[in-house]
């Protein structure tokens, strides 16, 4: 009885979660007629699949917009911000995990909270300061400008996750490395980092997801020369909403993340996390 209930619940929940995605996928293959005349679900039975939505977003004769360049932009911005956040975030986290910093009554815990508090602030508060800052630095509408702004939001996540991860690694490992002749930086790169792949993977995944999906800063700080994928997708909306094109572009823009999720899931389940705990 309990099992049946559980299975029922899981089924309903899965449908609830997957339904929008399934709907987006089917809609992306619908012609206009199948969208505007009431809801249809089953291809070939209720509607004839068509590639009109996909043709509109990919290069070709029927293209109304080209999503390849925004994809590249998104890729550059996400990869850049993730790399910077991981490198400097994990270094900061290692320092906060292993050494004591302080000024008056403030100590490591306060510094960590300071990092995390960057995420408490609503991004809209930062829009104007960032705009003025980037304008001053001549970085408006550039890859680097957006990378730096995103990094300021992603680094706290990395620091926060990695401090906990490093705290869980036995301190004796880096003490031993220092006894054997490493300075703290060498100890980190040679002994701690190789053990930190699972933590870095998780932190990196968060960075990629947040970076890839960022609309707000991309919309306010870049838009013309550096058009990112989410902004390009939004721009497709017109007075008459072309649902089939929007659905196709949405599906198109989540493909890289879904692919990444599969890769990472395999990587994590290979027991890499298992070795992370003493």
């Amino acid at each position: 009885m309990y099992k049946v209930l559980k299975a029922t619940f899981i089924t309903i929940w899965s449908l609830f979660v997957l339904f929008p995605i399934m709907w987006a996928i089917t809609t992306s293959f619908k012609p206009e007629s199948a969208v505007v005349n009431g809801a249809t679900f089953i291809p070939f039975l209720e509607f004839q699949p068509s590639l009109i939505g996909w043709k509109a977003i990919l290069p070709g004769p029927d293209s109304i917009t080209n999503l390849i360049t925004p994809t590249l932009n998104s890729f550059i911005v996400t990869a850049g911000a993730t790399a910077i956040s991981l490198i400097f975030g994990s270094l900061a986290a290692y320092g906060l995990s292993r050494f004591t910093y302080g000024w008056k009554n403030y100590s490591n815990a306060d510094i960590i909270f300071f990092f995390v508090s960057q995420r408490i602030m609503p991004p809209v508060v930062l829009a104007i300061p960032f705009f003025l800052l980037l304008k001053e630095l001549k970085l408006l509408d550039t890859h680097l400008g957006l990378i730096l702004v995103l990094t300021s939001g992603l680094m706290p996540i990395v620091v926060w996750l990695m401090v906990d991860f490093f705290n869980a690694l036995p301190r004796e490992i880096d003490e031993m490395a220092m006894l054997e002749g490493c300075n703290p930086i060498q100890a980190f790169f040679r002994t701690i980092l190789p053990l930190s792949k699972p933590g870095l993977t998780v932190a990196g995944m968060f960075c990629v997801i947040f970076g890839w999906n960022d609309v707000f800063f991309a919309l306010t700080l870049t838009a013309t020369k550096v058009l990112t994928l989410p902004v390009a997708v939004i721009a497709l909306n017109g007075t008459v909403t072309p649902y089939w094109i929007l659905a196709a572009s949405t599906v198109f823009s989540i493909i890289p993340l879904v692919g990444l999720a599969f890769v990472i899931e395999r990587f994590l389940s290979r027991g890499n996390l298992g070795g992370a705990v003493r």
Binding site: M176, M178, L179, G181, C182, N183, P194
Partner: protein, 357 residues
């Protein structure tokens, strides 16, 4: 190898001004090059703090540390060239056994062929040559500890080898083997070794000198024999030896010592005896069963005995105070409950307020 000098070294983890709370109370000590020392004491008595101070993992709150004549107090751990083995095996999980053993040499920028030769030499001594290619994570606890030890030994120029209860996690059978290996290695390399343990047998089998510690202070320093024969305090008498030393409260009357109504002679020169709690201490090993009254013979009642293989420990009580007596098994158990115990004067020491008079 280096002579290690602790000059007024003291440490407080929370930087408390009150010295009585310090993890390590100010201490002056010299450790000679090439000798093996054991730090002995209960958990939390400051043994590990001393080790970490020497290796630089802890910077002492006060005092200076010298290797030979060089002041190393402010020199970072990496440059002190100390080998340390921790209580729990510490291995680099991402590396193979070979990589683990070669790591300290790689850090020092040795040439590849030289590293290979040295690693194989150490692996030979530790008898792990066949495991060099394996991943270090997959080994058992005792093998991991061997590798930790090997990493300490692979450098041929270490200032000292510090071992912090290295055999705690090892099962008893491997313990014996490992102990033998450690001893052999100490002999070969003529290292300055500081060995922390709370196991007195381990300490006594390893060390040239023992240091008994309590609450951040060194209570007594000496050879195993000195500590056993003439402990300088009740604490050491209780800590070293199994069963512990017997202590009997005594009274002084006109420069003579009485236990109840029996006059006792002791090996201690009679000291000032006014207003102090006085006790005599004697090892259970030195008490013998007497057949008739005589000098230093007291009456006791036998309560029971523990059988320890070749010896028996008789549990007695005299004047309401417990006394343990160790007799060889061949002697047989005494008939009857009433015993006469002979306390040889030259093995009986007088203690005042817990300290040797």
């Amino acid at each position: 190898m280096a002579k290690i000098t602790l000059s007024n070294i003291g440490h407080s983890y929370n930087k408390d001004k009150d010295q009585s709370t310090w993890a390590l109370k100010p201490l002056d000590m010299v450790w000679e090059s090439g000798k093996t020392y054991a730090l002995l004491g209960p958990s939390g008595c400051g043994k590990t703090t001393i080790l970490n101070t020497i290796s630089g993992l802890v910077t002492p709150y006060q005092g200076r540390l010298l290797f030979d004549d060089q002041d190393v107090t402010d020199i970072p751990t990496a440059q002190r060239n100390i080998a340390q083995v921790f209580q729990f095996p510490t291995i680099y999980r991402s590396m193979s056994v070979y990589e683990n053993l070669s790591f300290p040499l790689v850090c020092r920028g040795w040439k590849a062929e030289k590293i290979k030769a040295r690693v194989h030499e150490i692996a030979e001594i530790l008898d792990i040559t066949d495991k060099l290619g394996r991943s270090a994570v997959k080994l058992g606890a005792d093998e991991k500890q061997l590798i930790s030890l090997g990493r300490g030994l692979v450098r041929d120029d270490v200032s000292a080898l510090l071992m912090d209860e290295p055999l705690t996690v090892i099962d008893p059978q491997s313990k014996f083997e490992l102990r033998k290996k450690i001893k052999a290695i100490n002999k070969i390399n003529n290292l300055t070794v500081i060995y922390v343990t709370h196991d007195q047998y381990e300490a006594m089998t390893f060390a040239d000198e023992l240091l008994v510690m309590s609450f951040g202070e060194v209570i007594q320093r000496g050879t195993p024999e000195q500590l056993f024969e003439k402990p300088n305090s009740k604490y050491v008498g209780n800590f070293i030896g199994s069963p512990a030393m017997n202590f009997l409260p005594v009274e002084a009357k006109s420069n003579e010592i009485y236990f109840g109504s029996t006059k006792l002679k002791t090996g201690s020169a009679n000291a000032q005896t006014q207003g102090k709690a006085m006790e005599v201490g004697i090892r259970p090993e030195y008490i013998s069963l007497a057949t008739g009254a005589g000098e230093n013979v007291i009456e006791a009642e036998l309560l029971g005995h523990d059988d320890l293989g070749s010896v028996r420990v008789l549990k007695c009580v005299s004047g309401g105070f417990p006394i343990s007596v160790k007799i060889p098994r061949s002697q047989g158990l005494p008939a009857g409950k009433s015993l006469l115990l002979k306390l040889p004067a030259e093995k009986t020491w007088l203690y005042q307020d817990g300290h040797l008079a």
